[in-house]
């Protein structure tokens, strides 16, 4: 049987998914521990043998991969005004599937350069100025990077009128760079796609090798993108559809992990209520936010600090645990698997808090503006009240007996009506962990990917 093999080199597990392209079905899923320290292919081979055992007469025509191994893609974003080009650059980096280690604005100082070096980014995204706007800042920052940070690739997505000078600076200093369109060509207009694509190209060309994964490329047809970018890709294709397959419309993906909670939304997010004025920087249609302080294990302790134990208590009123101690324990024991009822309950409470808070940070907020005439409303961010679907993925959701309870923590809440969260969406679960692999597959076979997604995401 001929099949397609999809690989996700994850931070912990290397996950394999075999797809029968004729029947448009998933044949098998296997996983094995990721082995990036020694040779990434060892872990792959382990999982590969399992899949060969499961389906004996299988032959793979093609193998595609995404990766978040070896720390995943890590970036810093540089812009001019914090709320404008610096924020736009951050959003572009997140949408490219990166972790954002730092966001810098205005003219970089040597101190900031030092901090940046310590963060060891894989790529720097350099923005600043609208097209035809401020040039001085981005040129200064290009010079600082060229002088002090020589070995990190730079994606330049700022004022295009500065690109000749930046090109000269980088060429002279042998910096690896890529110049693309501005992330904010006009004030408050966001244009993240060109930067995302440039980041992905550099990821494929340079980062995969730098992370010791070059050996994988002899066997597979390329590590095409970071895993989070694949998830966003899957969400986008499922929402929008293709030329031949209908999409399912506006949706949100909630991905609760050990270290972070990621939210993806595919929606324009225009106001759904009359009389609301939208203000601020435009939102990306396909938007990803990452909460580094909200997670089930590595970030359990930071979650407790960020949201207070009272809020966690709300979801486990009768727990025998001391909330802070339990969170600390989970952070120190990242491989802990909950067994008893109490342990499961506690994990679910953490996941509900993570969902609630991550959604609050992702969605738009409505503010009352009091005027002599009475109240009017302003909206910053996306209005997702009418989003049709919320899809859950990640271990705690997939293994939970009650995933809808967790997802509901992310929905609209009358006690906090400022947050424009979905009011009445259908809830789906990615029970076979296929979002990232389908996002990967969608690069080449979008129609089949969307059909498999529709079949495999189950209602809860």
């Amino acid at each position: 049987m001929n099949a397609l093999l999809l690989i996700d080199f994850g931070s912990t597990y290397t996950k394999l998914t075999a797809v029968d392209m004729k029947k448009e079905e998933i044949i098998a899923n296997t996983k094995s521990l990721t082995t990036v320290q020694s040779d990434i292919m060892i872990g792959f081979q382990n999982a590969y043998h399992q899949i060969k055992e499961k389906c004996k007469d299988i032959y793979f025509d093609e193998i595609l991969a995404c990766s978040s191994a070896a720390g995943g893609l890590k970036m810093v974003a540089v812009g001019l005004v914090p709320e404008l080009t610096a924020e736009a650059a951050k959003r572009a980096a997140l949408g490219a599937g990166s972790r954002v280690l730092g966001v810098y604005s205005h003219e970089l100082t040597q101190r900031e350069i030092k901090a940046m070096i310590q963060q060891t980014p894989d790529i720097i995204l350099l923005a600043g100025g609208t097209d035809g706007g401020n040039k001085d800042c981005i040129i200064h920052n290009a010079k600082m990077i060229a002088k002090y940070i020589k070995n990190v690739p730079v994606v330049v997505s700022g004022n295009i009128k500065a690109s000749d000078e930046i090109e000269e600076i980088f060429k002279e200093n042998h910096i690896y760079y890529e110049i693309t369109d501005n992330v904010m060509p006009k004030l408050n207009k966001l244009n993240v796609e060109p930067a995302r694509e440039a980041i992905r190209q550099i990821f494929m060309k340079k980062i995969v090798e730098a992370k010791g994964m070059k050996s994988a490329e002899s066997m597979i047809n390329g590590i095409l993108m970071p895993t989070p970018a694949a998830v966003l890709n899957a969400a986008k294709i499922l929402a929008d559809g293709t030329n031949t397959e209908e999409g399912i419309g506006d949706l949100i993906v909630i991905d609760i992990g050990g270290a972070t909670t990621d939210i993806h939304s595919i929606a324009e997010g225009e106001p759904t209520k009359p009389g609301v004025m939208k203000i601020g920087l435009e939102e990306p249609y396909a938007k990803r936010t990452v909460e580094g302080d909200l997670g089930m294990r590595v970030s359990a302790e930071s979650l407790c600090h960020s949201v207070s134990s009272k809020k966690i208590m709300k979801f486990v009123p009768n727990t025998k645990y001391n909330i802070e101690e339990r969170c600390k324990y989970l952070t120190q024991n990242v491989n802990e698997i909950p067994n008893t009822l109490e342990e499961i309950e506690f994990d679910e409470a953490l996941s509900m808090v993570a969902t609630e808070v991550a959604m609050e940070r992702h969605v738009g907020v409505i503010e009352d503006v009091y005027t002599p005439m009475g109240k009017i409303y302003s909206q910053v961010g996306k209005d997702l009240l009418d989003a049709k679907y919320v899809i859950g993925t990640g271990g705690v959701l997939v293994h939970s007996k009650n995933p809808s309870k967790i997802l509901r923590a992310g929905l609209y809440n009358e006690e906090n009506p400022r947050y424009l969260k979905p009011t009445d969406p259908k809830l789906l679960i990615d029970k076979d962990y296929i979002l990232s692999s389908m996002g990967l597959m969608a690069e080449k076979y979008p129609d089949i990917a969307i059909r498999i997604l529709k079949k495999n995401l189950s209602n809860v």
Binding site: G132, K135, L187, I376, S378
Partner: protein
Amino acid sequence: MKKKIVLGVIGADCHAVGNKVLDFALTEAGFEVVNIGVLSSQEDFINAAIETDASAIIVSSLYGHGEIDCRGLREKCEEAGLKDILLYAGGNLVVGKQDWEPVRKRFQEMGFDRVYPPGTPPEVDIEHLKEDLKI
């Protein structure tokens, strides 16, 4: 190259029509207008001017709270590195029909280069812009 002008209506003011009229008139006159629209804070004006490298900020206020909303704008511009940016204000800057001279004086003391009484047509400030920016 076209001079860039940041235009907007300051504070909790949502009078949108005059803003559109001004945008149109200024664009016609050859300026590149960066229109941040209604409900704009002082920070919105400043941020826009920084990113776009604008030569002037034109503040409208129609609902009568202009004086409170505009206070401190010049100081914040200086703080943000916008040293020589032109600041104009107009619309219905204060409540009702007040004696204009004291109002003008107060706004100029606040650091506005030009201040316009109610009913000033866009042509007037366009002439002034050309003069002040030496076009």
